[in-house]
């Protein structure tokens, strides 16, 4: 077997394992009520505790974005339109994936390390031996919590980003708040908002199942746990930008369909 064959086989095996684990976790979502305590704990760790960093991120991204766009628009005397472009970009792109990145960095890596440590410390085996399915006990609560909190954080982050853009427009670009908001309203329609939420839901599921799958496959002590955490970040980021492209392409088709072009 050549080197590339080997890499491809491993990638396919990994993808297969991840998918099976995700489906198993979804299959166990009948136990959501039973595992509500675990889910709430995870929602707190994943969601509530991520609000400050996600907000800070999005605030500054909104500010910088408004400044950059403002520089260009000023050449045409169209600084008023900053809100429109900013909202469009925030809702459809920046919000979902910047929050996705924050969650991968802050949550995905630690999730992989936590589950990896459980694997290395035989805790996963202990669960199996007690006939407690790790997909139900460990994976499901995390993926459920992440796929709820991902979109919630995206909404919060996007709003904060829009406010950030507004502050800059007002203080540095000389746009009045009422102008900013009037054009901002035109930046996104319902479809855009749904699409943004769909994106962040998909990103949450993808990065959550990658983190859990890599965690479950950890071997080799502390070094292995470190490796699991790192691989999770790299793979999740790659998949998120890839899925983002797919979803945006799909969005374009839907949008054309809705507006009667297709």
């Amino acid at each position: 077997m050549s080197w590339t064959d080997n890499v491809i086989t491993r990638a396919l095996k990994g993808a297969g394992f991840t998918l099976v684990l995700l489906l198993e976790a979804i299959g166990h979502s009948t136990q959501i009520w039973r595992r509500r305590r675990a889910i709430f704990t995870q929602m707190h760790v994943i969601g509530t505790q991520s609000i400050p960093i996600a907000s800070f991120f999005m605030l500054l991204i909104g500010m910088v974005f408004a400044l950059q766009v403002g520089i260009e628009f000023a050449r045409f005397g169209q600084t008023n339109l900053v809100g429109l472009v900013l909202v469009a970009a925030m809702v459809r792109e920046l919000g979902p994936w910047m929050v996705g990145f924050v969650l991968i960095a802050r949550v995905g890596s630690s999730m992989a390390a936590e589950i990896g440590t459980m694997q290395v410390a035989e805790e996963i085996d202990a669960l199996e031996v007690m006939s407690i399915n790790p997909a139900s006990f460990v994976v499901m609560p995390r993926i459920v919590a992440l796929s709820i909190m991902g979109p919630v954080l995206t909404v919060i982050g996007t709003l904060v980003g829009i406010v950030g853009g507004g502050i800059v427009s007002n203080l540095q670009l000389g746009v009045t708040w009422s102008d900013y908001l009037r054009f901002a309203e035109d930046g996104a329609e319902a479809l855009d908002i749904y699409w943004g939420l769909l994106k962040s839901f998909v990103f949450s599921i993808v990065s959550g199942s990658v983190a859990c799958a890599i965690g479950m496959k950890t071997s080799g002590g502390a070094v292995g746990v470190g490796r699991a955490s790192r691989n999770t970040v790299v793979l999740s980021l790659t998949l998120v930008v890839f899925f983002n492209y797919l979803l945006t392409s799909f969005y374009r088709i839907v949008k054309m369909f809705v507006s009667g072009v297709l």
Binding site: M118, E123, E128, S131
Partner: protein, 332 residues
């Protein structure tokens, strides 16, 4: 032996290759109902792997494994889940769930598999935690307690559903002698009072002789001898003699002993001795046959070739991946 005692576990010709190495090689042995069966053998040779096969965490490449006369190698996942309820397993490090308190850890199997009331569960948890003398620590989290306490809590959890068969993976390693004795006493008490079948992996020979009805010496993938403690003690098989004496002629090993054999067979290795091996210090070569070192000698040997650096010996890397420990053939 008298009549035909009922068998709790039967291994027949079980083989398993892991990462290209033959870990189990036509392994066969029986464990009788109600007995304490002790498996002894060098570190990293496959004793834990044997236990994992017993509960279906690993499937053999070939061979048959029966638990209470039911073949488990062909069971579906669902059947395995039911079969596993016969077992309580104490893992090497306790394997407690980190985000649950000791109380919640012991309660977990009850919560998952029974419809008991909260009060009833609490009673059972109290009973099990009192057995291992940890009731007063029930609100602590695993990270807040010592290794020995984790093991005892792991045992309480293993006993929660009153299993018929209990597996112990090195229950006394890393414990001080007093606690180790307590564990031995507990194992004997569970046999006496609850008639549990117990299978204990250990390389603590004091413990093996104290608790074992029968002892099996695991070597190169199979049992080279199975017998009563007396039979094992007076074994004429060199590998068995060598193991139980810890390499000291004529002496039954005591708890603190350490033997290092480089290039010949893995011994009972302390961390320092392991470092000596991993640092590739010229301790001995296969041609020299058995060369045994005390812990101090091993440490000294480890330092010799790198006196200039004086840094700590690098022990990073997977714990189990110690290829230098692979037994090699010798002309005994």
């Amino acid at each position: 032996m008298s009549g035909s005692p009922k068998l709790a576990v039967q291994f027949e010709g079980v083989s398993k290759v892991l990462a290209g190495r033959q870990i189990l090689d036509k392994l066969s042995f029986d464990v009788r109902e109600g007995e304490t069966f002790v498996i002894i053998g060098y570190s990293g040779t496959g004793k834990s792997v044997t236990l994992r096969h017993m509960v279906g965490l690993m499937a053999p490449d070939e061979g048959s494994i029966r638990v209470e006369n039911e073949e488990i190698t062909t069971m579906s996942r669902r059947e395995l889940e039911i079969m596993r309820r016969k077992f309580g397993v104490l893992f090497q490090s306790g394997a407690l769930i980190a985000w649950l308190t000791l109380f919640e850890n012991v309660e977990l199997p009850l919560l998952e598999h029974t419809k008991m009331s909260r009060k009833k569960r609490a009673e059972i948890v109290q009973e099990k935690l009192e057995i291992v003398n940890l009731w007063q620590d029930r609100e602590k989290y695993p990270a807040e307690i010592s290794g020995g306490m984790k093991k005892r809590a792991g045992l309480a959890r293993a006993l929660a559903l009153d299993p018929g068969i209990v597996l112990y993976d090195e229950p006394t390693s890393g414990l001080d002698p007093v606690i180790a004795n307590e564990i031995d006493k507990l194992i004997n008490r569970l046999k006496r009072e609850h008639h549990m079948t117990q299978i204990v992996v250990t390389h603590d020979m004091d413990s093996a002789f104290e608790i074992g009805d029968r002892i099996g010496m695991f070597y190169k993938g199979s049992m080279i001898q199975i017998g009563t403690p007396e039979e094992i003690q007076s074994s004429t098989i060199p590998e068995v003699q060598h193991f139980i004496t810890g390499g000291r002629e004529g002496a039954i090993s005591r708890r603190a002993n350490t033997a290092v054999i480089r290039g010949v067979a893995p011994g009972m290795l302390s961390q320092r001795s392991l470092e000596a091996i991993e640092s590739e210090a010229p301790v001995a070569t296969a041609e020299q046959g058995y060369v045994l070192l005390s812990e101090e000698e091993a440490a000294a040997a480890a330092l010799q070739p790198q006196e200039e650096t004086e840094g700590p010996v690098d022990t990073a890397g997977p714990r189990n991946a110690t290829p230098s420990l692979e037994p090699e053939e010798t002309d005994a």
